[in-house]
Structure formats: structure tokens, C-alpha cells
């Protein structure tokens, strides 16, 4: 019987950690690929409305964003508490939208311009007046593909 039992107490061999970097690298690559950096810092409070008939935006590179909502507290001294438009990293007026759209178009390939989508991220308590002004400007700039950003409503 002693054939199988080695004499003396043997200590457990240390667990090899040589494969740990490989595992970590695998995770690392996964996150590197899926990461999209936040490009803008939101300066407005934003709770988008809920809806059921929503579709996902597939090509993120073709989407330009317009944010509308009441400014965050630290900006309220300057910009007031009424809903404002934010383009890129700054507050803007509704009249600046055509310029923004033109700039966005120039940043893209010419062939992709007709497929561009403007995503309107608008706070649900905003009044329609400003939304209609934005839509009017978008029509003038003929950026007609829009999506009203919204969350999935469970029902």
C-alpha cells in the first residue's frame, strides 16, 4: 500500500500564476475593443423619456448629438435654469445648430453624409417650443434623419 503514499509530508505546490497575465490580457482586450470614450461632458440635466417603439442606433460614428435640458447647478448662475441646448462641450443657441451640422458633415466622409443621424437627447420636462425650434433648424440644414433618444419602457 505504501506504494502510493509517499513518505514524509509534502507541501502543496504553489499555484502557478504564469497564466494570469494571459487571462488579464484577454479581459483587457475585450474592454479595449468595447470601450467608447465619453466624448462630451454633459452640462445639462438629462432624463430622456421612455418609449416602446425604439430602435438601436447602429453606426455610432454617423451620429451627432444635440443635448437639451436645464443646466447643471454650477452653470445655473450664468445660464439660468431654463432648458438650454448643448452642442459638443458648450452651451449654444438654437441658431448655432446649422453650423454644428455643417461641421459634423465636414468631419465625415462624403459618401456617409446622407446616412447621418442626429440624435436628440432631450430632457422629458422640456417644453416643446425649443424642440420645435430645433426641428425647424434641422429641416433648414436638411438633416432630416433624427431620432428622439429614449429608454425602453417595460410593460
Amino acid at each position: 500500500m505504501s506504494k502510493f503514499r509517499n513518505s514524509g509530508k509534502k507541501e502543496l505546490p504553489p499555484i502557478s500564476t504564469a497564466s494570469l497575465p494571459d487571462i488579464v490580457f484577454m479581459l483587457l482586450f475585450f474592454f479595449m475593443v468595447t470601450t467608447t470614450m465619453r466624448e462630451v461632458t454633459l452640462m445639462v440635466k438629462l432624463t430622456v423619456p421612455k418609449a416602446t417603439e425604439i430602435s438601436k442606433l447602429e453606426k455610432k460614428s454617423l451620429v451627432s448629438y444635440i443635448y437639451v435640458g436645464p443646466p447643471h447647478k454650477q452653470y445655473q448662475k450664468i445660464y439660468g435654469s431654463e432648458p438650454r441646448v448643448q452642442l459638443n462641450d458648450q452651451f449654444a443657441n438654437v441658431g448655432d445648430i446649422p453650423d454644428y451640422i455643417t461641421a459634423e458633415r465636414e468631419a465625415r466622409d462624403e459618401a456617409e453624409v446622407p446616412m447621418m443621424i442626429t440624435s436628440l437627447k432631450i430632457d422629458e420636462f422640456t417644453k416643446m417650443g425649443i424642440v420645435n425650434d430645433i426641428k425647424w433648424e434641422l429641416r433648414k440644414a436638411s438633416a432630416l434623419n433624427i431620432t428622439y433618444s429614449s429608454r425602453q419602457r417595460a410593460d
Partner: protein, 190 residues
């Protein structure tokens, strides 16, 4: 015998990789942007002549006022009932003469199909809340989507989303999404 190259210490490699991993974990935003897709109507040309008036029976008027009340075809209504009402208007199952007319159109895959001439007109006040507007819009788009889905199940036996491109086009032609948004009325303050 050649000198053995000493092994590289690999124990710190894991630390470096962990640091990178944590950085990407923190900066990752996985949220996929989703929303209600719409297409705005292009600006009318300057010299456009007045379009011929649409018959009253072909228009489904939805009004939302500044206190977010909903009026459909002259009656107050809850948002939860809007979808059914819109579907009834668009489908006009009993060919009632109060609901929109239909026109026979030749459509590939479907043959002759009675396409409704109904148009939904959505009008909101400047003071309407955006959330309410989206809720109403969602119901109206939902009505169209449900009708398309029903037609697709009836004709092709599958849901609309699983159809191929040509059949989807046919269904779109049979049930066109005519959703007009009138200029908002500027009545009342903010």
C-alpha cells in the same frame, strides 16, 4: 555550452495588465443609444403651390395642449386609448364612410391591396411637455408598427421584423407611415 539567458521576470506583467484593465473598465460606457426614429419632412420649396385640401374623413387630428391633455378628433382622450383608436382609423375594417378612403394599389408580393388614404396629423402646443409628446408619438408610431406586423403575419406568416428587404418594402407600401406634424400654435406663454 552557451550561457543560459536568464528568464524574464513575468510577475509584474500581471500588475501592468491589471492597471490597464482597470482603466478601461472605468472608462467603458456600454450603453447603446436607442430612440424613436423619425424622418423630418424637407423644407417646402419657395414657389410651392398650395396642396389640394385633404378630405376631412382622411385626417386623424391629434392635439396636445399646454397642460398635456390629449384631444383626438374633437374628443378628450387618454394616451393609453390612442393606439387602438389610431389603428381603427388606419385600418377602417368596416369601410365606414366616416373613416378614411382606400385606394387599390398593385403591390409586389401582395397583389392588389387597399391602401388607406388616412393621414395622422399631430399638433402640439409650444408649452407641451416633451415627455408627453414622445408618449403620443410613440403610440402613433406603435399603431403603424402593429398594423404592419399584423399584415406581415397574415400574408407571410412571420413578424414584420423578420421579413427580407423586398417584402418589408411591400408592407411599407401597403401601410405607409403618413404622420404629419403641423406647425405648433403659439398660444399662451411658456
Amino acid at each position: 555550452m552557451a550561457k543560459k539567458i536568464p528568464e524574464l521576470p513575468a510577475s509584474t506583467l500581471a500588475d501592468i495588465a491589471f492597471m490597464l484593465l482597470i482603466f478601461f473598465l472605468v472608462t467603458t460606457t456600454m450603453d447603446v443609444d436607442s430612440g424613436l426614429r423619425r424622418r423630418l419632412s424637407p423644407m417646402p420649396p419657395e414657389d410651392m403651390e398650395d396642396t389640394p385640401p385633404i378630405k376631412e374623413r382622411n385626417v386623424f387630428i391629434v392635439l396636445v395642449d399646454k397642460s398635456n391633455r390629449l384631444m383626438v378628433e374633437g374628443e378628450l382622450m387618454q394616451i393609453s386609448n390612442l393606439r387602438e383608436k389610431a389603428k381603427e382609423f388606419l385600418a377602417n375594417p368596416d369601410n365606414s364612410d366616416k373613416l378614411p378612403e382606400k385606394k387599390l394599389v398593385e403591390i409586389p408580393f401582395l397583389g392588389e391591396y387597399e391602401v388607406s388614404k388616412g393621414v395622422i396629423s399631430l399638433q402640439n402646443d409650444v408649452g407641451t411637455q416633451y415627455g408627453t409628446y414622445i408618449a403620443v408619438m410613440n403610440e402613433l408610431v406603435g399603431a403603424y408598427n402593429e398594423l404592419r406586423d399584423e399584415l406581415s403575419r397574415r400574408e407571410f406568416g412571420k413578424p414584420y421584423n423578420n421579413l427580407d428587404k423586398d417584402r418589408r418594402k411591400a408592407v411599407q407600401k401597403a401601410i405607409p407611415m403618413l404622420l404629419s406634424e403641423a406647425e405648433p400654435k403659439k398660444v399662451g406663454g411658456k
